[in-house]
């Protein structure tokens, strides 16, 4: 079989196929149009791949972190980001942090136990030097 024979076959079959495409009836054309519109609606209803694939996870993460930070900041009692008697849960957490910071030096509570007298002395000195208590101001 020569090449021109093959080319003739390819050309003829392509022409016939094209003709059959042109002869598609209106019912099928209508259904194809409906199918196309349904597919396009699916595109409009979804986030674009670019945003979904790259930006959304990082943007969502940043947003979630920001929301969490803001919520924690403004959700805490005003002016009491330290330890207060009104916030016993935070007090225990802070105590845990202090205790944990000395974990490598043996008993985590050792420092506090040994220096009770020092803390009493320091508190007394602070109270003595307070202008309000001295009547100076």
């Amino acid at each position: 079989m020569n090449e021109s024979g093959f080319n003739g076959l390819e050309k003829r079959s392509r022409e016939l196929f094209d003709a059959s495409v042109e002869d598609i009836d209106m019912r099928v054309r209508s259904r194809l149009t409906q199918a196309r519109h349904a597919a396009l609606e699916a595109v409009a209803a979804r986030p674009s791949g670019f945003f979904r694939a790259t930006w959304v996870p990082s943007a969502a993460g940043i947003t979630a972190a920001a929301v969490l930070a803001v919520a924690l900041w403004f959700g805490a009692p005003h002016g009491s980001h330290g330890t207060t008697a009104a916030d016993p849960q935070a007090s225990f957490e802070d105590l845990d942090i202090v205790a944990a910071s000395d974990e490598n030096s043996g008993d985590p509570m050792e420092m506090l136990q040994d220096d009770v007298e020092f803390y009493d002395w320091a508190a007394q000195k602070t109270a003595d030097s307070d202008p309000a208590t001295d009547g100076v101001g």
Partner: protein, 205 residues
Amino acid sequence: MSSFVKLSHAWMAWDGPSRAPEGVVLDQTRELEKFLADIERRAFRMAQVALRDPDDALDVVQDAMLKLARNYAAKPSAEWRPLFYRILENGIRDLQRRRAVRKRLMVWLPGPKEDPDGEAADPLETVAASGPDAPERLMQAEAIDKLERSLRELPARQREAFMLRNFEGLDVAATAAAMGCSEGSVKTHYSRAVHALRERLGEVW
């Protein structure tokens, strides 16, 4: 309001991933619409050649359109054609497998026998029998019918290669992408398809 309550309210108010800007979606949608409008009838005919049944062909084309739109619309438009035909051919193969299973089951089940691969209506009956070009149209309908029968007799991969290369005009690389095989395989399938069609269709072609 506690931090947890505020956070949970914010979470509940969150509406999932942000949608793409309207302009981006609009451009993408227009381009995809043009692509689908260009391709849908040819895709339907290709599916119909393989499946015979027009409703089945419509179903697989619709499914391919939806899958392309949902999963690959964000891809560069140059990639859509091979992707679309890959989805379409997968759909055709799935349907043919289901038919084969159904056919085997029908042998064992009582009741009317279903034969989706059986002979369809005579295509000549659908051609208008009057008008000045009636003889020419009859000959053309007969030639199309003969071509479709010959294509259906080909192994699936040869048929796919021939239709994608010759009817759709895909190059070897795009055909390989659509068929999920190497370019060498495409050339082999295509060459065998042309030889087989030549034998079946005869020298009049």
